[in-house]
Symmetry: C2
Subunit: 340 residues, 2 copies
């Protein structure tokens, strides 16, 4: 591995100073002799010169690099967001570091520090929760945009989804289909904002007048896996007084999948034994058995919007930028799991 040609080599070969080469590389042609320009162009091409971004970054304190910290890279929801971020960043010449905190706030903290050391220009974070102060502080020194999950501290830029609308669409649909018993299944709250919002929204709806006489419950699943979900689902259905038509909402995509598997293992049939709505229009929702009615979130757009905001804010100084909290609308996609 011989070392690559540096700016000095090119300068020497072209018979100019490194400053001139640098200007050429940065497109500052305005006051450059047409002859030198041409000579430099040829020299660069023939030597295959390519500037060292590390040196550039050191000098310019600008790395054209964004850190993306995901709480769970396996979740299709995260992937779609990631894609939106990647595409937008690539378009503007930014490259992304991808970190997977696996829902661990300790890991998330480590990654944030690591990325700071690498002098990224900004952060897009789908936080695992539990680093609110750290992130609030970070946002004071750096452009930061939160995706999907907000934090409680301070006004931080975020792009998320209207969860009140989502829950309300789901509940409304189940009521319209004649359900007289409703259940919301959620993963452990763990300070995760959309979970809080969905549970709160459900609770608020349940206490409204129109829902007098509708039995409703909120059920937290500690660990998203087939066994615990099967147990919970079994209890839920058995305890339901037979005549009541039961409607179940799962508060996220991974949980929806677990519910389908659990229903299968219990020999329950959807929608015969209960109507079912999931969050996230995952790619399998339409081919599942039964096909799944879902609250679809504009995941790609969340990512793309967040990246755009971040890049737009790179010029400004973070300290005085007003954190803005953006909520994108969701929509209900009807399929067979609620078709009665």
């Amino acid at each position: 591995m011989k070392k690559p040609t540096a700016i000095r080599d090119v300068a020497l070969a072209a018979g100019v100073s490194t400053a001139t080469i640098s200007r050429y590389m940065n497109g500052k042609f305005h006051k450059m002799g047409a002859d030198t320009r041409l000579r430099i162009e040829k020299t660069i091409k023939s030597m295959g010169y390519m500037p060292n971004d590390v040196a550039r970054s050191l000098r310019s304190t600008k790395s054209n690099t964004i850190a993306v910290i995901l709480s769970d890279i396996l979740n299709p929801y995260s992937i779609a967001i990631l894609q939106g971020i990647e595409e937008t960043c690539a378009e503007f010449g930014y490259t992304i570091f991808v970190c997977n905190s696996k829902e661990s706030s300790a890991k998330e903290k480590e990654f944030i520090e690591m990325m700071m050391a690498k002098r990224v220009d900004g952060f897009v974070i789908n936080t695992s929760g539990g680093n609110d102060e750290l992130i609030a502080g970070l946002a004071h020194e750096m452009p930061v945009v939160l995706v999907g999950r907000k934090i409680s501290t301070g006004m931080i830029n975020s792009v998320a989804v209207n969860n009140v609308q989502g829950v309300s669409l789901a509940v409304g649909h189940l009521l319209a289909r004649g359900c007289s018993a409703l259940a919301l299944l959620s993963p452990r709250i763990d300070h995760v904002s959309p979970r809080i919002e969905r549970v709160e929204a459900f609770r608020a709806l349940a206490s409204q007048e129109e829902m007098q006489g509708i039995a409703s419950g909120i059920h937290i699943i500690d660990k998203i896996a087939v066994e615990p979900v099967t147990e919970m689902l079994g209890n839920l259905i058995r305890q339901n007084r037979s005549p009541a038509r039961m409607g179940i909402i799962a508060a996220n995509g991974m949980l929806s999948l677990a519910v389908l598997k659990a229903a299968k293992s219990l020999d329950y049939e959807i929608p015969r034994d209960f109507l079912f709505i999931g969050f996230d229009d995952t790619e399998w929702a339409s081919v599942a058995n039964p096909s799944l009615t879902v609250i679809a979130q504009p995941t790609y757009e969340i990512g793309a919007t967040a990246a755009k905001r971040l890049l737009a804010g790179l010029g400004q100084d973070a300290e005085h930028s007003q954190g803005e909290s953006l909520e994108l609308p969701v929509k209900l996609i009807m399929r067979n799991s609620t078709l009665i």
Copy 2:
């Protein structure tokens, strides 16, 4: 955004030279006075000093950074590989840049050059195809490991899957289930090695003695979307002489999903109208309607293995490392789509 404390600030505050701080940061304590060491530790903590990795990289020509270039980040197959890479890299203190070439060799080329400029320490590539010479050249100057897809030029490190075994398992299973007509559906070949291998393997099997009297065909789908797949599937089933039991194999996960959707829109029932096997045990395979028999690839392991090889090879000089081509075994997972 005030500028962060640099090594010089710490040196000044601790009353030592920057060299000593540097040694401390790099864990070279062996010949350091216990008193200075303590003093430095305190100073660093109180100042919140964190070395600038950009400067470090420039000096050491080592960035602790790996470029991952994916042909299609939306494909769950890629994601699982990515996860294997990310986890392994994180474990060894490496961070990954993620690039999505979207099956465009032009984009892939751009990304490779961009990543070279960023002075990454190595590459993991799931190539879009069409950059064989570029990649072969790259592998001469840099540690490179190919995942999933190989290139035709030279001996390059790669971690992929035994596709002959995969096709053979699928065909064997369909024959055992009494199929007397077989079809392999594949996306456009486009120089993509696993597609070539699967088609070749299928062709080879079809010409063997045991398969005399079995009708077989290979069908290339130009664009993976519901409409073209529906058309193709319709023709396939209609042209099949009724008494023959038809078995269809889809050569990748996205295609499998399209086939399921097409079957649904044509009101075909699987396995009544044809038996079906897909490649890739995607997360939805078990909840699909019907649940899908698949050839499962060890995707996470492909990524993890590739990353390990890459990191292991970082010390060596790439020029003389022998490219090794590793093939991981696949397995057949039986489900309802072939249950007759």
